[in-house]
Subunit: 262 residues, 2 copies
Amino acid sequence: MSTAWVTLATNDGYALGALVLAHSLRRAKTRHHLHILYTDGVTAQMRSRLLAVFHNSTRVDVLDSNDTENLALIGRPDLGVTFTKLHCWRLTQYEKCVFLDADTLIIQNCDELFERPEFAAAPDIGWPDLFNSGVFVFVPSNDAYQKLVEFGTQHGTFDGGDQGLLNLYFSNWREMDASHRLPFIYNVTSGSIYSYKAAYQLFGGNVKIVRFLGTVKPWHRDTSKHGHQNDHWGYWQQIFREDVSQNLPNGLVRYTPPKSPS
Amino acid sequence: MSTAWVTLATNDGYALGALVLAHSLRRAKTRHHLHILYTDGVTAQMRSRLLAVFHNSTRVDVLDSNDTENLALIGRPDLGVTFTKLHCWRLTQYEKCVFLDADTLIIQNCDELFERPEFAAAPDIGWPDLFNSGVFVFVPSNDAYQKLVEFGTQHGTFDGGDQGLLNLYFSNWREMDASHRLPFIYNVTSGSIYSYKAAYQLFGGNVKIVRFLGTVKPWHRDTSKHGHQNDHWGYWQQIFREDVSQNLPNGLVRYTPPKSPS
Ligand SMILES: O=c1ccn([C@@H]2O[C@H](COP(=O)(O)OP(=O)(O)O)[C@@H](O)[C@H]2O)c(=O)[nH]1
Ligand SMILES: O=c1ccn([C@@H]2O[C@H](COP(=O)(O)OP(=O)(O)O)[C@@H](O)[C@H]2O)c(=O)[nH]1
Ligand SMILES: [Mn+2]
Ligand SMILES: [Mn+2]
């Protein structure tokens, strides 16, 4: 079976995330290919770094929800561009894929995700009847891509980003059988937002994928005031130091994000 | 079918919560009975107020997990006593019940919960593969009660409270079919902890039961710094003013909680 992990970067910051993610997949000895979608916002220098660790890449056009009103609701004016994620359905050279946000990190091998059916995702902690779109199993199909884009054009997205659109499209996810609901260990929010410490102590050793939710991403700077789990944050920084930073052109060693257009 | 909503109070503070909860059930015109479990920690004055609004009551002994270590983990030394909740399985005069924490509030009629099978509960936002034990559908049975108490004695609880025990006991909840997984609208955390505002805007009108998670409960004092949704907090205070406070002996009009044994 031809399979791949797929991620997306529309600028050099998220590309740094993608580099660390790819190395975390390699450290976990995945058997599946690594594929990156990128837009023209990623510099040529960074693209060559991406190609050194991903097996394959695809240049895609930016798709934007242009939904400033709903994006304001979730406090993230920058997330309209996450519609670009939909391009992943066009990777029909693969029979099955798992999409990973560029701000996720693999803690343990989880190749078994490819045994799941489309569509599979884990609950979102903010409203657990919805799934989080940072990690999902899908089957590429040009037809599905067309339908998703048409659906997005007609219905929009209730949160301005891809997560709102995908939840409207796969609106029966909650009722699907358990194979479609990924266990939370495949998409744990590494954050202090609300953490059920006792559950974390019990299940923390099983965590396979974490996600650095929110505006403070690990590539912004290595600060102790990050609000994420220290061990996850530390592992990201370790991979960055050991596998990524020495191969970066000087200007990219520590990325400082441009001011948001507020 | 003989059915009841069941709640629990071990002191006058939670009893105030139970009074408002009972009035919220009556305002929502429930067809089911209201039953309260109370311990000797509830004063005689308060017991007579409870009996004016609940159809039935049962005095129960305190069951305590005595698990200070795990309770420290969740920052709530007071929750060992929630093991007392297990007594609800002994209410075999009913064929089916729905347990509600005393800090929940009914926003809309939700009598349809009684059509659900045992065991049914909604996901916990802290670790959504676990259920929250603030709202659950169960079938009273002395046999089940015995098994639960034995199980608790043997395995304890990973969080020190009833939620940890019940999740260990009904450990296959995540894999059960959708009828056992209550939609989130039946147990929404009314908190600013992490709120997915866009989802709230979309589904907020459907919310049927809310829960005042955490240490600041609406009976402590009416403050604007409560950290809960204003509309839910306000509705609790309105019921308290209109249906509860005028019938309370003076000393109980606004309950000030005893200092916690820190
Ligand atoms: O400006 C952006 C914003 C997002 N993304 C991609 O879209 C995903 C989702 O956005 P983000 O992770 O920032 O959302 P959050 O997890 O914070 O809700 C990212 O991980 C990236 O893969 C991107 O490439 N450029
Ligand atoms: O000292 C206590 C603590 C808890 N409870 C009961 O146990 C439930 C669960 O505790 P709580 O709601 O405080 O837990 P939280 O929802 O904050 O986790 C309460 O709603 C009450 O019904 C009680 O009667 N006395
Ligand atoms: Mn993300
Ligand atoms: Mn509660």
